[in-house]
Amino acid sequence: MACVPVFPHEHHVAATPDSRSQGSFQPSLAQQHESAPLDKHPTRSLASASSMPRDHNHDHDQNQNLTMTLPEDSFDTHNCEPPSLEVTFQKEELLRMYMAMVTMRRMETTADTLYKSQLIRGFCHLCTGQEAIGVGLETALTKEDKVITAYRSHGFTYMRKGSVLPIIAELLGRNNGISGGKGGSMHMFTPNFFGGNGIVGAQVPLGAGIAFAQKYLGKKAATFVFYGDGAANQGQVFEAFNMAKLWELPAVFVCENNQYGMGTSAARSSANTDYYKRGDYIPGIKVNGMDVLAVHQAIAYAREWALTEHKGPLLLEMETYRYGGHSMSDPGVSYRSREEIQKVRSENDPITHLKERLLEAQVVSEAELKDMDKAARAEVDKAAKEAKESEQPDMKTFWTDVYVKGAEVPFLRGREPQETHFYRK
């Protein structure tokens, strides 16, 4: 294995062959002190973050590209260099991002309403407020890269799948749902999106495994493994970190810190709330998760890191916020005040941030944005209507997808003895 180049100022001890073969890899505290100058800014409190500064440098050029400077506090780092604050996007790209976020927001609020009218039952975890992460992720990835997350997965599924109808249909349990109506909210998949996982933190070792598979098969694909601040203290997460670093897997672990694990605030659950530093020997970057451009930049940087530059894992922490409760069973106001939620909604909303940028850079007019809002609403409403009129799955599908086709057991018992199904070979 070639020597891993060490950049100036980069004090993280990459698993160079020498140190590894000597078996003496010691994460030194000295490193962390030396990286302190890079952590220029105190931990940003999301609820009190001020709205974006108005004096962006933006340049249009003939190719309809827009160059902007992200605010200085967009990134904090642990043992690595931050991504550049200068970002360039095509205007079309920005509008697509806006449309995606608005559609995602509408999809989630529609799911909220459908749940309250008892058309969706069971679990339903919504990502209202966290749209920037799903959108910023997808715009920086290729179709070959892999993504895995936990149960707050509708946004990711939408971005990976590209349409709303299969998701709403799945929530309603219809046969045109993305999992045939059999998975529900927490089990949605696409060929390069591994769900949709119900057990807290269980997806992190799975994600490390997916990254292992990519490396083993020689694919040029990074795996993005998402988990929350509540899951960040799970033991298997650290086991996954160890294996990812030991074998230099192309895995990017992303902690979506929405400040609350169910009803427990991060401060009450974690001795160290700097989740981007929890990787210890894995370098980390904290990103302002309410700014879709910062998210995009961080993901692009991470992908480059994992696949090309360092060919190893990286840890990202996305600072974000959810407006709703943990799930539809949680009103969301018993462990935080409504004022806090309203404050973030009014001062730090990801859609509003992008909107302000677009208007300021005169990429688009207010009326055009309003039209895009309307179009998104119409699309989601149409999907909801179509989903409600869809059929429920056929009872025959009750027995499929339990075993690989052709390798089933002779018979499978249903809910009662009379409901036994015999698989005919």
Partner: protein
């Protein structure tokens, strides 16, 4: 739409709430009403959003509307609280996910028992449209929703009829196949189900001999299809009279109040679990009557004693003398109280309630009298505080004013005794000398006792002490 109703009667297999009966789960899929009636314009109303009653918990079927936090004309942003809703579990705020203005409130603050998905308000995007909704009624909103309630009503009606027919049927047929509506669950033990499955016997044809009509292994094994023929004519005959009975009988179904439910539950529990026995004693009331007259004359309107007050005081003192009667069965111990908290059974328009005179053995007759009067008045006005009717160590139930001679009362758990007081009547009794007669006012009381804590002798001793105080009321001064 009809197509959908017919096909969605099948069981939805992927419920996350398996405890809910399946036929209920089939209903939501029947509803075609769109929740957000966007761009719904008819009767010349501009496009608007209908806000329906939300299900804020998975088990909620109806709720009460609390206070509206927004009024017509108010701007609403996503995340704002529209109204407080009282659910089956708690009071919760209903947040709005939309932006716009409130155009009309269809269900006012304080409305009770609003069904899920019933329209409660209208929102519009443009402020100018608000005034156009001045005449908007729930009927306009409900046009789209009419299909759903009608569909659910259709399903409810046949279900309601089936259990009604089933009840008289079950009474008439003895060994016949049980009459069950399709919606009812068949109770059967796992082994019975297995054997029935193996023998290809339909569980619906069997009648169970276990609890709740549960089908047991023995029932399945002894079941012979020949028996089917016999019950068939019986069940056929049954529906005819069953149908006739409801048609001929005249009755009113009075819905149960909470109080009635609690009375039913507690007294049934008491009669079924407490080993009651009854001891009666008669006493001469002349001295009490005399004393009462005397005391009332000099009352200066500060009190007006009744015979019941003497009974309360005498019971309290008798409990001091016989403390075993002032106790509770606590399953692994017996709690003996040190004070006599006497409950006085009071009849109110809504039901029976027992306000408590605490520490009656320390109170004078006047205090007892005034307290009882006050408690009774407040009980009838439904204004008692919980500590004033929950608790107590002994109960007195007096039906003397109705002229009842003797009755037995049901013990109020966890107490051990209840004293049933009858009317006082003048009787001729033998006098001191042979051949002499005198008249006396005689009252009978019956003590119901819990034999777990109060043995027969103890009850007798209590009544002896009680009689002693009543026949010689001045002894209460000691």
């Amino acid at each position: 739409m009809a197509r959908a109703i017919a096909s969605h009667n099948t069981v939805r297999a992927f419920s996350a709430t398996p405890s809910v009966p399946r036929h209920i789960l089939a209903i939501p899929s029947v509803s075609f009403k769109t929740n957000m009636a966007r761009f719904y314009s008819s009767k010349s109303f501009p496009s608007h959003i209908t806000i329906n009653m939300p299900a804020l918990s998975p088990t909620m079927t109806m709720g009460n509307i609390g206070t509206w936090q927004k009024k017509v004309g108010d701007a609403v942003a996503a995340g704002d609280v529209l109204v407080e809703i009282e659910t089956d579990k708690a009071q919760m705020d209903f947040e709005c996910q939309e932006e716009g203005y409130i155009a009309k409130i269809l269900v006012e603050s304080g409305s009770k028992e609003v069904n899920i998905n019933q329209p409660i308000a209208i929102m519009v995007e443009n402020k100018e449209d608000i005034e156009k909704f001045a005449d908007f009624t729930a009927a306009d909103a409900g046009a789209a929703g009419a299909a759903a309630p009608a569909a659910t009503e259709e399903k409810e009606a046949p279900k309601a009829e089936a259990p009604k027919a089933a009840a008289p049927k079950a009474a008439e047929t003895v060994n016949a196949a049980p009459s069950r509506s399709d919606a009812e669950r068949i109770f059967a033990s796992p082994i019975a189900k297995k054997i029935a499955n193996e023998k290809n016997i339909n569980l619906g044809d069997l009648s169970g001999s276990g609890p709740n009509g549960r089908i047991l292994k023995a029932d399945v094994e002894s079941y012979t299809p020949a028996a089917k023929a016999a019950p068939a004519p019986a069940t056929k005959a049954a529906p005819a009279p069953a149908a006739a009975a409801p048609a001929g009988a005249a009755f009113t179904d009075i819905p149960l109040t909470n109080m009635r439910k609690i009375i039913a539950q507690r007294l049934t529990e008491s009669k079924q679990t407490v080993p009651h026995y009854y001891v009666t004693v008669e006493m001469e009331m002349d001295k009490v009557m005399k004393l009462r007259e005397v005391l009332n004359k000099s009352s200066e309107d500060k009190y007006k004693l009744s015979v019941n007050d003497f009974i309360v005081k005498a019971s309290a003192l008798a409990l001091k003398a016989v403390p075993e009667a002032n106790s509770s069965w606590m399953n692994d111990s017996i709690r003996q109280y040190h004070t006599s908290d006497i409950c006085v059974a009071t009849s109110t328009p809504t039901g029976l309630i027992t306000p408590i005179v605490a520490n009656a053995e320390t109170k004078g007759l006047a205090t007892i009298s005034n307290q009882v009067k006050d408690l009774a008045a407040r009980a009838r006005a439904n204004k008692l505080a919980p500590h004033e009717y929950q608790g107590g160590t002994f109960t007195i139930s007096n039906m003397g004013m109705y002229g009842i001679k003797h009755f037995t009362a049901i013990i109020n758990p966890p107490q051990s005794c209840i004293l049933a007081v009858g009317a006082t009547e003048k009787r001729v009794v033998p006098g001191a000398e042979e051949g002499e007669y005198r008249t006396a006012s005689i009252m009978a009381v019956t003590l119901s006792s819990d034999h777990r804590t109060v043995d027969g002798a103890v009850a007798a001793q209590f009544l002896k002490a009680f009689k002693g105080y009543m026949e010689n009321p001045l002894k209460m001064l000691l």
